[in-house]
């Protein structure tokens, strides 16, 4: 049984549903990401775990104990807020000490654990500063230390990186993941950024409009998306409507696309194909035409039109001498892909 368990957790506001029967188990030491566009219910779910929002139905269990009706202060969670939520009138050390004070930890032990937590986030030299005297990244680390110092049973992160700039975000991401693994923290993180979720979490929960669409590791979600929403939200994806016909897939535009139909759902109505799985070869006799070329440095994106269906193709940018390098809008090409690279999905 997981260290954090959600059972059919729901939240309704009047007639609108924010979260609909979410089931989830997070194992001891595991990091799970709630991923989805804004308004999908991921933050509401996190706040129900922390106790800030009372569920309309379902249960929350922490370490096997039902805490569904427990107030926030009686739940053993450590939360890091998007806005950091530091106490502006307390020093860094006082901020970090607050949770220990609430737990009536003696002064000597408290001071020791505060300094230890600050060393963990490399801020022990700034213990006496006020939050407003720190940079965004430093405030973020104080918030981490403050949540970690009390050894919470569950560690909750609400979009912890969204207020940092791009460069810092990569660093803090690795730092949080390293801390989480080193301390073996049971962690639930909320994010709208798929790269963040893919790089940090052991498992991902993709949510949309209050419902869980799919739960799995990064690879499971990317390689075997359960539905068009997951296919489009985790990574980029060509989605073509049509139907199975013989051994192939007949697009609405008329083109017959190669696919492996074994095990496809009977109601398959969408063909999902990752842009990097498509091979593209110059061929004057090819019936596909390039409609756009975008050079992105490490890779190049091609929009290719074939009998009324436009597919996005991304290839590693070829070295300078390569004939591929000269491909331009209007050139004729041939597209090909492994039948196994295709996923067939029910309609959205």
């Amino acid at each position: 049984m997981g260290s954090l368990v959600l059972e059919a957790l729901s939240k309704r506001y009047g007639s609108s549903t924010a979260v609909e029967r979410v089931d989830l188990e997070v194992a001891q030491g595991e990091m799970v990401a709630l991923l989805g566009p804004s308004g999908c219910g991921k933050t509401t779910t996190l706040r129900m775990v922390a106790g800030f929002i009372p569920p309309s139905g379902g249960r929350v269990l922490i370490g096997g104990q039902d805490v569904t009706r427990a107030p926030p202060y009686a739940r053993d969670t450590g939360m890091v807020f998007q806005s950091y939520a530091l106490f502006p009138h307390m020093s860094v050390a006082q901020n970090v000490a607050f949770g220990l004070e609430m737990r009536k930890v003696g002064r000597a032990e408290r001071d020791e654990r505060v300094m230890e937590a600050l060393r963990l986030v490399r801020l022990d030299h700034l213990a006496d500063r006020l939050p407003r005297q720190l940079s965004g990244g430093q405030q973020q680390r104080v918030a981490l230390a403050r949540a970690l110092v009390v050894n919470p049973a569950v560690f909750l992160l609400d979009e912890p990186l969204s207020n940092l700039d791009a460069k810092l975000r990569g660093e803090v991401r690795m730092e949080i993941r390293a801390l989480q693994q080193r301390l073996g923290l049971t962690t639930l993180i909320v994010t709208h950024d798929q790269e963040e979720a893919l790089t940090m979490a052991d498992r991902l929960v993709v949510m949309e409009r209050g419902r869980v669409r799919q739960v799995g590791t990064a690879e499971e979600l990317y390689e075997h998306p359960a539905d068009p929403f997951v296919a489009g939200f985790v990574g980029r994806c060509n989605l073509v409507s049509g139907r199975l016909e013989g051994g192939g897939f007949r697009a609405e535009s008329g083109a017959l696309l190669r696919c492996d139909s074994t095990g496809a759902p009977a109601d398959a109505a969408l063909l999902a194909l990752r842009p990097e799985r498509i091979r593209l070869d110059p061929d004057p006799a090819g019936e596909a035409r390039i409609t756009a070329v975008t050079y992105l440095g490490a890779q190049t994106e091609y929009h290719v039109e074939q009998r009324g269906t436009t597919l996005l193709v991304t290839r590693p940018t070829p070295p300078l001498g390569d004939p591929m390098r000269r491909l331009a809008v209007g050139d004729a090409v041939v597209l090909s892909w492994d039948a196994a690279a295709v996923r067939l999905l029910p309609a959205a």
């Binding site: 202060y73 969670t77 939520a85």
Partner: protein, 269 residues
């Protein structure tokens, strides 16, 4: 955006004129209070503190000052906690018509001081009749009236602070194990401090300065300073009054400056 030089000059002139207009009469009084001569002439013939001595010697000013101080302190001490509680209730509870209540808070601005004073006087007269107990001309009555002055200021200033307050800090405290009362004492209250300090300052000033609400409620021997000044005015006008006025201005300005060191008033008010 850039302004051409002549326009900039005009701008500076406008600032200067506005401030001069606002401050000239006050400056004049302060000047009058330290010159010997009672009637008009310029430049006046000599500096003196005689008018200050004279003012203190007159019992009505000395006593009025002490009464005003007493009333203002009491009214602030009672009104600010009451107002803070009301502001918290107003901003934090999920009651309907919050917007209407917020506008009602502007109400005291809509009720002319004389009207409020009259209203209160009539109210007291009737209350005395029912309670069979004096209210007008008592310290309790005066303080109660002034509490009414301080509450709207407090509610407004504390409400503004509350609206600007980051509620996630309170959630963070709860998440760290603080019960609601501890959250309030350790997090909410300290974060509201600027608003509450400003509220106390303005409550004190409003009470200390008030004439209109006070006029009908003071009794013999329990006059506030503004009422004492008005009475003196009806009798004669001389630099003694300027001296009293100067003391009052300096007191209030001093209070504002001290407060401003701790709380940036122009940001809070």
């Amino acid at each position: 955006m850039l302004l051409p030089a002549p326009r900039r000059l005009l701008f500076h002139a406008a600032i200067g004129a506005a401030f001069l207009l606002m401050l000239a009469p006050v400056a004049m009084v302060m000047i009058i209070s330290v010159f010997r001569q009672e009637i008009v002439s310029f430049p006046p013939p000599g500096l003196t503190l005689e008018w200050y001595v004279n003012a203190w010697a007159r019992q009505e000013f000395a006593r009025g000052f002490l009464t005003s101080l007493q009333v203002a302190l009491l009214a602030t001490a009672i009104g600010v906690p009451l107002g803070t509680a009301a502001a918290l209730a107003l901003q934090r509870s999920a009651i309907k018509g919050k917007g209407a209540l917020n506008t009602l808070l502007l109400g005291p601005l809509a009720v002319p001081g004389v009207v409020a004073g009259t209203a209160l006087y009539m109210f007291y007269l009737r209350a005395e009749f029912w309670l069979d107990r004096d209210l007008t001309a008592t310290l309790e009555g005066l303080v109660a009236a002034h509490v009414l002055l301080t509450i709207p200021w407090t509610v407004r200033l504390v409400s503004a602070s509350l609206q600007g307050l980051d509620r996630t800090a309170e959630e963070a405290a709860a998440n760290l194990g603080a019960r609601p009362l501890t959250v309030f004492r350790r997090v909410t209250l300290p974060m509201l401090r600027p608003g509450i300090v400003a509220a106390a300052l303005f409550s004190f000033i409003q009470s200390f300065e008030n004439l209109e609400l006070t006029l009908l409620l003071v009794g013999p021997g329990r006059t506030t300073l503004p009422v004492a000044m008005l009475s003196y005015l009806e009798f004669r006008i001389d630099p003694t009054l300027a001296a009293v006025a100067t003391v009052q201005i300096l007191l209030v300005a001093g209070l504002m400056l001290i407060t401003d060191r701790f709380v940036k008033l122009s940001r809070v008010v």
